[in-house]
Symmetry: C2
C-alpha cells in the first residue's frame, strides 16, 4: 500500500489565494480527480493525469480516487474553496467508511483553503464580523423542511448567514423562499451580499437590502451572505460601501 | 490622500498556509499593526515598521492604523487566520464608521486567509462537512445569556459548532458551561475536536466525546469543534481516526 490521497482546496479562484502548501501538492500529484472547471484551473503537466466528473457525482468520484490511491497512485482530489466546506473531504470520508478495509490504511491528507464566504466577506468589508453560520441551500441531501427550520433558528438567534449552493437549474425556487422566511425575523433593511467569482475577471458582486433581494442575483457559483439586524453599511465617496457586522451584540 | 490600508490574514500559522496575495501585501507594506505574536511571524525587513499591541486593544489599534494611513503610509493590519472572522476587519470598519470623514476616503482592502476552524477541520477529516456555525465564546463584547441562547439554538437545529476564543485567564468557566449546555441536546458520544497551532511544531490536537470533553484541553488559541449527533469517527490502524459529518442529514 504505497499510494496516497491528498484532498486540496484551491481557494475561490484568484490564483493569489491558493496556498503554497496546495501548490506543492499539485506539483507532486500524479492523478487528479475533480469537477472539470476546477481541474481546468490547475495548469497540469503532460505527465499528470486528470479525471473530470460532474459536480453531482461526488461519492463516485471519491471512490474512484480511493481506488486509484489503493493501487499505488499519488492522487489529488480537487475542490474549489476549502475541501471541508460543502466539498470533497466529507465525500471521501463517507467513501472510506463504507468502502473496503484497505482504504482505511491509505495515507489521506486534507489541505485547507480559503472558502468562498471568506473571499466574499473580504470583498464586502467584514460582514462575518461576529457569530455566523454556513448552510447549503441544496435539498439534494437533506429535506427542505430541515433547511427552513435551520434558517429560522439562526436568523432568530442573530447569526450572520452564508448560503452555499443557493440555486441551480434543478432548484429554482429555494433562494426566493429562503429570503421570504428570513424576512419574517429580520428587518427588510438587512444587507444581503451576492458574491460570485470574487477576485477573478468575471467577478459579480452586489449588495441589496433583504426587502429587495432578488434570487436572480445568484447562480450556482454565488455565495450569498445575509447580515443581521446589526449589520451596518458605511457609504464611501467614489468607492463601494463597506458592509460589516459589529463585534459586539445586544441580547 | 495617498495612504492605503490592507487588512491581511496570515492563516493558522503554518507558513505553507499563507496565500501568495498576502505574502505580496507583506512585501509591499511600510507599517505593520497587530498583536505581537502575529507580527513576529512576518520576517519584516529593517525598512518596515512594526507597532505591536495587546490582543484586547483592537479598536485602538484600528484607529492608530487608519491615522497612519491617512497621513500617507502604506499600512498593513495583521490578523492570524482570516481577518474577517473574530479579527481585525470588523474593528477597522467600526473605527471608520465612528471616525473622521477622511477615513472613508482611504483605499481599504481586506485579504482573506485560512481561518482556524478550516485548518483544524482539515487535520481531523471533514467535521464541517455539512451546515455549521462559528461562534466566539468571549463575553467581552456580548452578554453571556446571548451566547447560551445561541448555543442552544444551533445545537438543537443540528449545526456543527466551531468555537473561537474558548477560554482565557479572565474567562475560566465559559467553555465548561458551554459543554454542559450542549450535553442537554447532543448525545454524550458527539465528537469534540480541540485544535491548537495545527500544522505548526507546537501543534496540540485531541478528540474526545462530548460526555468527557474537558475544558482543560483548550487555551485561548484553541479552536474547538463540536459535531452533531450525525458526526462519525472512522478508526484507522496506526493512524489518527478521521472525524467527519456526513453531507446528508435527516429531519
Amino acid at each position: 500500500m504505497t499510494g496516497k490521497l491528498v484532498i486540496i482546496g484551491t481557494g475561490p479562484g484568484n490564483p493569489g489565494q491558493t496556498t503554497p502548501q496546495v501548490l506543492d501538492a499539485i506539483g507532486d500529484g500524479e492523478l487528479f480527480f475533480g469537477y472539470g472547471p476546477y481541474l481546468d484551473r490547475l495548469s497540469l503537466r503532460p505527465d499528470q493525469g486528470r479525471i473530470a466528473s460532474d459536480n453531482r457525482e461526488e461519492i463516485d468520484r471519491a471512490r474512484a480516487a480511493l481506488d486509484a490511491a489503493a493501487k499505488g497512485a499519488s492522487v489529488c482530489v480537487v475542490s474549489g474553496g476549502d475541501p471541508g466546506v460543502f466539498a470533497m473531504a466529507a465525500a471521501v470520508c463517507e467513501a472510506i467508511e463504507t468502502g473496503p478495509e484497505t482504504w482505511r490504511r491509505l495515507d489521506v491528507t486534507v489541505l485547507p483553503g480559503v472558502t468562498a464566504m471568506l473571499a466574499v466577506a473580504a470583498r464586502a468589508g467584514a460582514p462575518l464580523g461576529h457569530d455566523f453560520c454556513a448552510m447549503s441551500l441544496s435539498d439534494n441531501l437533506k429535506p427542505w423542511e430541515l433547511i427552513e427550520r435551520r434558517l429560522r433558528a439562526v436568523a432568530e438567534a442573530g447569526f450572520v448567514i452564508a448560503l452555499y449552493n443557493p440555486v441551480s437549474r434543478a432548484r429554482p425556487w429555494q433562494l426566493a423562499t429562503a429570503f421570504k422566511i428570513l424576512r419574517e425575523s429580520l428587518p427588510v433593511s438587512t444587507p444581503v451580499i451576492f458574491g460570485r467569482a470574487v477576485g477573478r475577471p468575471d467577478e459579480r458582486f452586489t449588495v441589496a437590502p433583504l426587502g429587495e433581494a432578488d434570487q436572480q442575483s445568484a447562480d450556482m457559483a454565488t455565495c450569498v451572505i445575509i447580515g443581521t439586524a446589526e449589520t451596518r453599511i458605511i457609504d464611501r465617496p467614489g468607492m463601494d460601501p463597506l458592509v460589516y457586522s459589529p463585534r459586539s451584540a445586544n441580547p
